[in-house]
């Protein structure tokens, strides 16, 4: 191998939170002008490593060498000055500001003490030209789609002349063509000598775009290989530490009586005439495109929002209006946005897991800590929470484990119908399978399961029945054996109109 210079090097980096060792001696190397994939299941330590490299976190031990320079007390602004830019999954742009204002946040150009908007416009136009995209710099951010927002993020990285670009799941909200365009940009940046750390869970992208692959597990680097020499088996084995069984047995379940019966539900222009049913022991997936109105229907069923007309029955009785009564009736909902709706990150996992069940656990409003402990421990064991302790703050767990905490919160209320809105969004492969198995076993116990999912493969794998929504209406219903094309067909049909 020819000698190449390093854009970035970490030497023996350690990091722990409380007693939880997250990074255990990381030696990570990034060549100049290469695209390197960084892989690992949630909780492997990827994000912690990224945060240390970009200065958001300090390491306990070890060195970070950027461009041959050993850094000391790296902060985000120092890292930026050294040419490190991070593009996070959730964009960090201000929706109410223009593209131009977003591009130059914190580094406005000035001329004679005043802001030099002309100069900034020129620079932005130049960058957009380089990227080969056509975005009006005076457009408000909120008027742009997710793909354009992603491009603005990249443009923002270029305004600081990033030498090292960290991309965290950049394609998760992009269509196929948009992904292709992103790849072209990645190749162009690489040709210009930019080094890129590319984080993704999508295997085909890794093989398409990266030069080398590094896999992390349990806070260590398991191995680095040239992408050409790496195989999918090697990657998954390294990520999980064992052979993976990616198939889910669709057990034969006894499908019982109707649990949830939604009849002609309508609400403004959010959704119209929605009718469907969920039976005991059945897994129904509500499929469709993002923005089809599925979450809105779920919110109405769960009593978060009201609705204009229609009826909802649960076990033959009308579903009540307030969320706390709906929960008492036996319906619970794992919401879409874990961080904002599912989990209080600042309180312990244990407190999160009893929060909804307190009316049942407590007597006359006074808490019973012993009983709470039993409830929490049952969930920690049953859900295989990792680390297997509930004392840490909710935010300290990885994405998949945070989701388990939210599910645990609901299982403690002994529900009969679980609504799960995008339950595996931001959850890695290993934890995904665990969540699927859990869902299946809950259905086996005779609970009804209603899942909102935009992931077609997930839908195909887990659904007994698929209800497809399109533009606020029911587009059709398919059996669990239906194939991808049929589902997509119904979700998309008539979209052009």
């Amino acid at each position: 191998m020819t000698e190449q210079s390093f854009a970035l090097k970490t030497k023996d980096v350690y990091k722990s939170f409380g007693g939880n060792h997250v990074l255990k001696g990381i030696d990570f190397e990034l060549y100049e002008g290469e695209v390197q994939a960084l892989l690992g299941i949630n909780g492997a330590g990827k994000s912690t490593l990224i945060k240390i490299i970009s200065g958001a976190l300090g390491q306990d031990r070890g060195e970070v060498v950027i461009g041959g320079q050993t850094t000391k007390n790296l902060t985000p602004s120092k890292a930026q000055a050294l040419g490190i830019a991070t593009i996070y999954q959730e964009t960090s742009l201000y929706p109410k500001l223009s593209v131009l204002e977003n591009l130059f946040v914190g580094k406005r150009m000035k001329k004679r003490g005043l802001l030099d908007w002309k100069g900034m416009e020129e620079v932005s136009k130049e960058i957009f030209k380089r990227l080969g995209v056509d975005i009006n710099p005076y457009e408000k951010m909120e008027n742009l789609g997710k793909a354009s927002a992603q491009l603005v993020e990249i443009a923002k990285a270029l305004t600081i002349n990033a030498k090292i670009l960290i991309m965290d799941e950049p394609t998760s909200s992009l269509s196929k063509q948009e992904t292709e365009r992103l790849f072209e940009i990645v190749r162009m940046l690489k040709a210009e000598g930019t080094s890129i750390i590319y984080i993704s869970h999508r295997m085909e992208e890794i093989f398409q775009i990266t030069d080398r692959v590094t896999v992390m597990r349990d806070g260590k680097i398991i191995g680095t290989k040239k992408t050409k020499e790496a195989t999918t088996e090697w990657i998954t084995r390294s990520m999980l530490g064992k052979e993976v069984n990616n198939s889910l047995e669709k057990s034969r379940r006894h499908v019982g009586e109707i649990l949830l019966d939604v009849q002609n539900l309508s609400s403004g222009n959010l959704f119209r005439n929605i009718s469907f049913q969920v039976h005991r022991g059945e897994i129904v997936v509500l499929s469709g495109l993002v923005g089809a109105g599925r979450t809105e229907v779920m919110r109405a069923v769960f009593g978060i929002d009201g609705f204009d007309s229609g009826k909802i029955f649960f076990k033959g009785a009308p579903v009540k209006r307030h969320t706390w009564d709906v929960i008492k009736q036996g319906i619970v909902m794992v919401p879409e946005d874990r961080g904002r709706q599912g989990l209080v990150k600042e309180i312990s996992a244990a407190e999160n897991m009893v929060m909804a069940a307190l009316p049942e656990i407590s007597r006359m409003g006074i808490r019973n800590r012993d009983k709470e402990k039993e409830y929490v421990e049952a969930q920690v064991k049953g859900l295989l929470l990792n680390p297997p302790a509930a004392g840490l703050d909710g935010g300290a767990y990885s994405g998949g484990n945070q989701q388990k905490i939210v599910i645990g919160k609901w299982l403690n209320t002994h529900p009969e119908l679980l609504i799960l809105d995008e339950p595996t969004c931001g959850v890695d492969v290993g934890a995904k399978m665990e969540i699927y198995k859990l869902i299946v076993s809950l259905a086996e116990e005779g609970k009804g399961i209603l899942i909102v999912s935009s992931d077609i493969e997930e839908t195909e794998m887990i659904a007994d029945r698929i209800v497809i929504m399109r533009q606020g209406m029911i587009a059709g219903e398919l059996s669990g054996e239906a194939d991808k094309n049929a589902i997509l067909g119904l979700a998309l049909a008539g979209k052009e109109e």
Binding site: G18, I304, Q341, K345, E346, M355, L358
Partner: protein
Amino acid sequence: MKKLVKNNFFVLILVLVIVMAVMSGMSDYFLTADYLLNATRFISETSMIGLGMTLVILTGGIDLSVGSMMALSSVCLGLTCQAGIPAGLAAAVSLLVGIAGGALNGYAVCKMNLPALIVTLATMGLFRGIALGISGGSAIPIPKSLYFLGQGSIGPLPVQLVITTTAYIVIAFFIYKSNFGIYLKGIGYNEEVAVFSGIKVTWNKVKAYMLSGFFAAFLGILFTCRVSSAKADYGSNYEMDAITIAVFGGASLAGGKVSFAGSYIAAVIIVLIRLGLTTAAIQTEIQSVIIGLILILAVAFNNFVASKKKIEI
């Protein structure tokens, strides 16, 4: 040691010891039982106004109307007593007025979704205005039977000290032990999660505002009984003290994080500083400057502690 510095409560105790040391250096009377016991009358009053505020801040809100509510409660007590209503019943009426005022705040903030700062700024003027209007601004004498609450002692301890300390213990214990406590914490940290968890968010928040009104009214009664007459100008700027106490005690104005023990100690410190400054013949205007500085330092310190913690997560 590093851990201790990050522990707000330890810092509070340290500050208290320093304040005590400085004060006893300034005056020979300070470290006597008589002086300290007398000081607890003021301490108890100030800490009681901080108790309600601590609860409201726990939900992520704020209540600027506490000082005015104290005056309104005082005037109500005076007027009902003057009308010949028995003292016990009159006190109960004042407390009910406090709860009703808190409910009004809570309704506007939680049900109508108006900003707490503006709502309670408005009711601050409203309550004060009503108090002035119905009393005509003059002092109203109260019956001697009520003096005990403000001037009497239980054993060696002033009545206020017993009442306020009991109130703190009961509330702190209740917050720790009850569903209400974890609900308020959950709401304070992340209201949307609380909604999705089936917690009665509005009702629980309204309860916090009602408790704040209740304690403000209670203080109105104790204060009136100490000075032997009711008047509409009591409690001006008390909201400032209340916020200082809560924040100095370790509360985050963003909600979710408060410390009742911290608030209590913070009240002790602030009153002792004020008494010390008065003993040293420093004008009240300068005292306000000093209390204001303490508030800023307290917020800065809390931010510092919070930023240290955030990095660990």
